[in-house]
Symmetry: C2
Subunit: 241 residues, 2 copies
DNA sequence: CGGGGTGTTGAGTCCACTCAACCCTGGTGG
DNA sequence: CCACCAGGGTTGAGTGGACTCAACACCCCG
């Protein structure tokens, strides 16, 4: 059975440890060195956490669930620019301008912490280590975007899908779930928008990869059958000269 | 005559004022509240400032010239992920990992400041205002990447070119140069790599836009003849339902 | 004068898109 | 219970835009 994103596995080791910690059983916030209390918030599937243009008030570490960020695209349907899972920080797009630049929507029932940005700044100022970790996360976000940029610029649809699946696999793995068998929460349309493809193309190519015995896809349940094969496709450009 | 990027206009008002200031005439560094001395460095056209994988030591505000950042693409030719002009901060891609993730090359003879990152961190810690400005720049970088992402995902070649030209125009304008007549320092190949197009396509479409009387292109000298027209093309998707 | 880097232009191909039909599933209500 | 519907997903046929391959023009520089 595929691991669900929404399964909360009690004690969590994730990137935002130190920003905020909460007693899973009681829901009560714990004060600890370099940590501070924060409220949490449930978001039902399809509901919006914040909209592009809203004022920055909080940064939201994801505790459970899966969300997508969309970038308003003037007339056309909004473009998906990222997906968030547990341990990701939502809201960094507002840093700099003071306004969120994307709209964040839950893909399934999700739970996030709410870190007041002002409070976070205060704590970062006092705690060098915390600040550094925060910067690290900002930088990682930046790099992941540049990676996506490189992908959209130069890859074929098949290469993009293979890369996307491997990256999802890596993220699940980093969270302690199976890296070869998981459930993706986004629709074909979401994936297509994110990868710069039409949903029909996403569907077709997922099945092509299945025909090639590289993976098995059943609705949103995905199993990687031949990781080296997928990697070969993801990096197809360095094949045979 | 088109304004050259490399023309240094003496007293500069730009985003990194406060990070570093230097007496333009003597080259001597000036100490001022919230500012600190820094070395500067000349880079000849074609030379590399740093390579992907190098350890982060400095952040480089651009004083003059134009540079490109390329992302290593495993086998294929590296992908251009950004261009830097005066007042841009080069090196932010290393924040988080501690290693630069891109290779930065000068497109023309350029000049950058060298801010030791350790020193910068120290100063940011002591100077709240400086830190905030630094974060602002980080955030802006992030947003610009997400904008590019949206562009690559959903736009046609013509829309991409129009958007790119308008964005270059805005950048020149922000630096105090003409917004309608300027010289782009990058090759068709660079532009194509950045926009996810082949250089032939870039060339063809630039001339198509010229045929449409929207701009005039002569080598790298570019003049915008019909800004509203360009904007209409850049946002083509919201035309006539 | 030759050579490399850059840019333009043409002809033909292919990949991803568009348009369209259809299936499956879950939910709702008679 | 079944009918109906909406959202998501699959599959097919045909089109078009960007790519590939290729030739050639231009310019600077040695």
């Amino acid at each position: 059975m595929a691991t669900s994103l929404s399964a909360n596995q009690g004690s969590t080791r994730c990137a935002f440890d130190g920003f905020c910690r909460q007693d899973a059983s009681s829901g009560a916030a714990i004060h600890a060195p370099g940590e501070f209390p924060c409220a949490h918030r449930h978001i039902k599937a399809g509901q919006v956490l914040y909209r592009a243009g809203d004022d920055l008030h909080s940064i939201y570490p994801v505790k459970a669930g899966c969300l997508k960020a969309t970038f308003p695209a003037e007339g056309s349907r909004d473009q998906v620019v990222g997906f968030y899972m547990r341990s990701d920080l939502v809201g960094l797009d507002a840093i700099g301008s003071g306004k969120y630049s994307t709209t964040v929507t839950a893909l399934e029932d999700s739970e996030v912490c709410m870190l007041s940005y002002l409070q976070l700044e205060d704590h970062c100022q006092q705690n060098n280590d915390l600040r550094r970790r925060f910067e690290t996360l900002l930088g990682r976000e930046l790099n992941s975007d540049q990676g996506s940029l490189a992908m959209l610029g130069s890859m074929t649809a098949q290469e993009r899908l293979a890369t996307f699946i491997l990256s999802m696999s890596a993220r699940f793995s980093a969270l302690g779930y199976s890296s070869s068998e998981f459930r993706i929460q986004m629709t074909r349309d979401d994936i297509g928008s994110y990868l710069g493809l039409r949903l029909e193309t996403v569907s077709r190519i997922l099945h092509r990869l299945q025909d090639l015995k590289l993976l098995s896809i059943n609705g949103r349940e995905l199993e990687i059958l031949d990781r080296p094969g997928l990697e070969r496709i993801a990096h197809a450009r360095n094949e045979g000269g």
